[in-house]
Symmetry: C2
Subunit: 396 residues, 2 copies
């Protein structure tokens, strides 16, 4: 449980799942290092070291992002009327329910980080940019704040829709302020997000929000269906999670007047790492350390969530898949033992290995898009790389 | 009950309420025609005739609006993904829950009517416009569609928030598709609305949406309070209802490049008729004909709504006000007799007369704003006048 999950996801070192799960089957052609203990130890060590370096870089990137974007974000939120502002400030982790100031907690600002990193990657080539340095460009910062607001609007509404009680280790806004008021605060945050940007950025962000709503709609619908395919789930994750990470990269590029093909390539880069993000999220939902994720052990399984590793496992034609299906079909709350049985069944049916491999494949595809982006300076993509690394290596 | 309410609201011909209600007290200085039966009959007849003429003009204006705007609105809604489009089409009255086509019912398109009328009023002066005729200008039509989408986004979410079961004589969208999906469809409609317009129009519409959310937030909060003042309620109505009618007029003017002062004056015009609209709505909620409004007799009172006539009545220091407060304090559903008692108490405490006078005063102020708008051709404001008339004369 306490094993750093990211290592397993970005570079799967254990044996892949049993053949049968479609995508996992491809993995069997990879050289198997499980039989050579010394080589395996070296690989794990190198992987962990690389992970620590990458996460240090990502941390530095996100720290710079916070310093640059948070003031813009706060100034925008402060324009909201009284109580709507309070709900937004609570949800963003800036204030407690009684209005007392909490300092700078809240999300990782991963999406604003992508906006700044994409702008930097383009501006460094001299194609775009205003010479200020992309990360200090007011249009880049406004886009970054808009993306974070749009992200938080979706979280506010999703928490109401999913009846989730905890987010970032705190009670969700709707449990504190009421569902009605959380809906209204979310609406106001969406309008605010779209007010911060103009022109093509505004159109893209609006399109993206519609795509996210479609993804969330499908996510809810899938929970009612017994015949959801892995492809449907991946497409849904592309809308629900990938679209906004793609839009973040595209808006960063747009803000520094990138070549339209570079904007498109960066959008694709973001979409791919977005799906990797969702796969990692789903792995953490099953094998994450509850002390770090803030979610109880096996909460995703107890809620019978059809997360990607679960759907992958269920679509394998194996005894373990049948076992998982039987546990999921139980018409009552799971016992601790049943949560363990389900967890093991997902792993034995290949769901864990498939998700880890798929995440790695998405990251690889993302990098391929980046390499093909015209006018993107390959020497200036380190922040994009660092965030992509962080996405599959994170533990919460 | 079947008396055409509009006549009573725009030109109150009956005796005003007893002095005591602040604003109603001003009315006592008006010449009282109640004592001269012949003069009263003539006045009523002239009023009804004027009303019929005005409503014919407004009907024609709104028919032209529907012909011009509905295709743009449909094309926009058709860009929404599958099920979200279906929920929007159901809510807009175009389709049934099973997707069968219903033809052109749904709202009156009053707000798009204001967009076109404001654009026409400005463009006729030759200051703005592209020579196409304002009502055929693509930017005017896009603004009109955006305003109607924003309006319907608020209705979708308000129905979820207020747990209302009926809208426009049909089950509300959330009762048919689920609250979760209605929230998502509303989100998508808001994003779509903001995607249809750009530049200052987009900023204004986003600001307006935030103001509407604030108004709706206050409306919910007021239902929990016992000490809400009439001023607070009027301010809330200005946000919840006035802001969007103001924005509709402003966007129409902006789309034909009006002088910024004309945009501001048209915004104020729309805001004033918006409050008159809310006052009329509240009067219809008590004295409207259930066959026309589609709401059961006394539904606003049964729900103990703190609508404007009720708050006006409650703030009068009279026996009738006390009677109303006592009925409202009953800790159970009202009997038919109690609904009648409450209705009569609102009237005797002056709530009805005050609301009618206030609505007329708002319309007068609106016209004063219009006369002061630079570059607005007074010969071309007939559509704005017709819609303003309709607002207080409507019966549903």
């Amino acid at each position: 449980m306490a094993e750093p999950l990211g290592v397993g996801t970005a570079w799967p070192v254990g044996g892949g799942g049993p053949a049968g799960v479609g995508p996992a089957a491809e993995e069997s052609s990879q050289p198997d290092i499980a039989d050579d203990p010394a080589r395996r130890t070296r690989t794990i060590k190198a992987t962990i070291d690389a992970g620590i370096d990458a996460s240090k870089t990502a941390e530095a990137t996100l720290r710079r992002t916070r310093e640059a974007v948070e003031p813009v974000l706060r100034a925008a939120v402060d324009t909201l009327p009284g109580r709507l502002r309070s709900i937004a400030a609570y949800h963003l982790g800036w204030e407690d329910a009684d209005g007392s100031v909490l300092g700078s907690i809240g999300g990782k600002l991963l999406r604003p980080g992508l906006v700044l990193a994409a702008a930097t990657a383009v501006a460094a080539s001299g194609v775009g940019g205003n010479g200020l340095g992309a990360a200090a460009d007011p249009e880049v910062l406004a886009s970054a704040a808009a993306i974070e607001l749009a992200h938080n609007f979706t979280l506010l509404h999703d928490d109401v829709i999913d009846r989730d009680h905890t987010r970032r280790h705190r009670p969700t806004a709707w449990t504190v302020f009421g569902a009605e008021n959380a809906i209204l605060a979310g609406d106001a945050m969406l309008a605010l997000a779209l007010r911060l940007v103009g022109g093509e950025a505004a159109s893209r962000l609006a399109e993206c929000v519609i795509e996210i709503c479609d993804g969330q709609f499908e996510d809810c619908a899938f929970e009612q269906r017994d015949d959801v395919t892995l492809d449907e789930c991946l497409t849904m994750a592309g809308k629900k999670t990938g679209a906004l990470l793609g839009c973040a990269c595209a808006l960063g590029a747009l803000a520094v007047r990138a070549d339209p093909l570079a904007v498109a390539a960066l959008d694709l880069f973001g979409r791919e790492i977005g799906v990797a993000f969702q796969l990692t999220d789903d792995l953490l939902g099953i094998w994450g350390d509850p002390a770090v994720t803030g979610k109880p052990v096996g909460s995703d399984l107890s809620a019978r969530k059809k997360s990607l590793p679960v759907v992958a496992a269920l679509s394998a034609r194996s005894a373990a898949a049948g076992e998982l299906a039987r546990v999921y079909a139980l018409g009552r709350d799971f016992t601790e033992h049943e949560v363990r049985r389900a967890t093991e069944a997902v792993e034995r049916a290949g769901g864990r290995a498939w998700a880890a491999t798929e995440a790695a494949a998405r990251i690889a595809t993302a990098h391929a898009h980046l390499r093909r982006a015209p006018g993107v300076e390959q020497a200036a993509v380190h922040d994009l790389h660092a965030i992509a690394e962080l996405i599959t290596r994170r533990t919460s």
